[in-house]
């Protein structure tokens, strides 16, 4: 295993960073888009609800690889050229946002209706109620499942390997076939994924503990 790190250090390093960059971009946008659709789903309006449900059900139920291949192959054929890295990141963002939307929605709906009624009765608008009363509590409730989604997102970024996105998994495939040491190559790659996901996992746990202390 050490010889893999010695001989292919630069490739592994590049893959490691590509995976991190892809994950951060996806995580950021998936959280925003996902929360947006979660709110749309809970807005008391038939049409926004319908749009949100369509988006979530569509992208939650299509394999990530299909979404990614669509952006890698179909879009460049008819519209603009998208690199493998971009196609993978876009696919990952859309796919993850659907799951995050469902997670956040469950959080929003678990906030006691009495609180919303109380806030509205005191003269807060719908959006004020959302921002000041509902969302802070909702995110606290869904922190554990949200952490799961984040970890899944990092692991799912391996889809970049299929579209030559130069991520960790791509480099793993290249190194495995170049060195003919499949086991060691994939062990190194697995280890590097752990280097990303384990701290993330512990950070989410730390957040959970801290927010629990903050009262509930």
């Amino acid at each position: 295993m050490i010889n893999i790190f010695q001989n292919y250090g630069s490739q592994l390093w590049q893959g490691f960073w590509q995976t991190i960059i892809c994950s951060i971009i996806s995580l950021f946008f998936a959280l925003i888009i996902g929360s947006g659709f979660a709110i749309l789903e809970t807005v008391p309006n038939k049409w926004t609800h319908l749009i949100a449900r369509m988006y979530i059900e569509l992208f939650r139920n299509i394999p990530l690889l299909v979404i990614t291949m669509f952006f890698y192959v179909v879009i460049p054929m008819y519209f603009v050229k998208i690199s493998g890295f971009a196609a993978g990141t876009i696919g990952l963002t859309i796919y993850s946002s659907a799951f995050i939307a469902e997670t956040v929605r469950s959080g929003i709906q678990s906030v006691d209706v009495g609180q919303i009624e109380g806030a509205r009765a005191n003269g807060l608008t719908f959006w004020q109620t959302m921002v000041h009363i509902v969302l802070p509590q909702a995110f606290r409730y869904v922190l554990p499942p949200l952490g799961n989604q984040f970890i899944n997102l990092v692991k799912n970024s391996s889809v970049l390997a299929f579209v030559a996105g130069f991520d960790l998994m791509y480099q793993g495939n290249v190194i495995a076939s170049d060195s003919l040491q499949s086991m060691n190559a994939y062990l190194c790659v697995g280890l590097l994924y752990l280097v990303i996901t384990l701290p993330l996992s512990y950070y989410m746990r730390y957040l959970e503990r801290r927010t629990l202390k903050g009262g509930a």
């Binding site: 890698y72 192959v73 050229k81 299929f162 579209v163 030559a164 791509y170 290249v174 076939s177 003919l180």
Partner: protein, 277 residues
């Protein structure tokens, strides 16, 4: 508490079992004589390509893999095991063929595999059964006319993970960006959607793609020599020698040239007579 301990015990046992089983597999493989076992079962399991036109391609209509290598493997099997010998085929790609051979899932690889010194450290090769050469495939009207045109920063070359053409192209076009995809059909899809300027691999494979996609052509001729060989595990000398003997017989009887004509006779731009034996 008790449940936890019990679970831990189960997990440890399972882990140890996996280790033992995996250890067993590799040890017995090294001492096995594959040729003798195959003679007993009257079947040879070949690892073949299923995504490569002309060499080995899955026919979706009847779920059979068809191609030059498939026919050659059948002929070799008949020579090695006698008339009742059966050739079994397992689908491999450039990335999976080595691990599958090492794990014993297949007896031999006959999958557009070039004989190279690095690979000879890991496996044993038979005599070459096809003489290919590396070339490039581009869209018709592309400014790229040969491999030298690819040697620029703006150019992107597509290849397949595990094929030695991706190593070679680094020498011929070091400035170009290299993207490796998982198999040939995906690499071709990527070329069609404009993800790269050229696709590089052996000419035989590229001609197969060009025959199916009139908008694309092989340009610049070959720039390397790529002899394909049948790969077997180290220590399987008997099997390899049997392959060599069978190959010689097939070449002498004219069956080889017949197969060559059947698969490459009508391919535009490819003179099959040059590789006849």
């Amino acid at each position: 508490m008790k449940v936890k301990q019990w679970r831990f015990g189960l997990l440890t046992t399972l882990l140890m079992l996996i280790m033992v089983v995996s250890g067993c597999g590799s040890r017995s493989l090294a001492t096995k004589n594959i040729l003798k076992e195959d003679q007993k079962t009257q079947a040879i399991t070949w690892g073949v390509k299923a995504d490569t036109r002309l060499f080995g391609l899955m026919d979706v209509k009847d779920n059979q893999i068809k191609g030059f290598e498939i026919d050659l493997a059948k002929a070799l099997t008949k020579e090695m095991l006698g008339k009742n010998g059966q050739a079994k085929f397992i689908q491999v790609n450039s990335q999976t063929r080595m691990p599958l051979l090492k794990n014993g899932n297949i007896d031999a690889i006959i999958a557009t595999m070039t004989i190279t010194p690095e690979r000879e450290k890991q496996v044993d090769f038979s005599r070459s059964y096809f003489d290919a050469g590396q070339a490039i495939l581009v869209k018709n009207g592309s400014p790229i006319k040969n491999v030298a045109d690819l040697n620029q920063k703006k150019a992107t070359v597509l290849g397949v993970v595990g094929s030695n053409s991706v190593q070679t192209i680094k020498k011929f076009a070091p400035k170009a960006k290299l993207m490796q995809l998982s198999d040939y059909s995906q690499a071709l899809t990527a070329l069609k959607s404009g993800q790269g300027d050229a696709l590089t691999t052996d000419n035989g494979i590229l001609y197969g793609m060009a025959a199916e996609n009139p908008g694309y052509s092989v340009v610049g001729g070959t720039f390397t020599k790529e002899p394909y060989g049948v790969a077997v595990n180290k220590n399987q000398t008997d099997f390899r020698n049997a392959v060599n003997v069978a190959l010689t017989k097939i070449e002498k009887s004219g069956d080889y040239n017949r197969l060559l004509k059947k698969w490459f006779g009508h391919v535009k731009g490819f003179n099959y007579k040059e590789v006849q034996r």
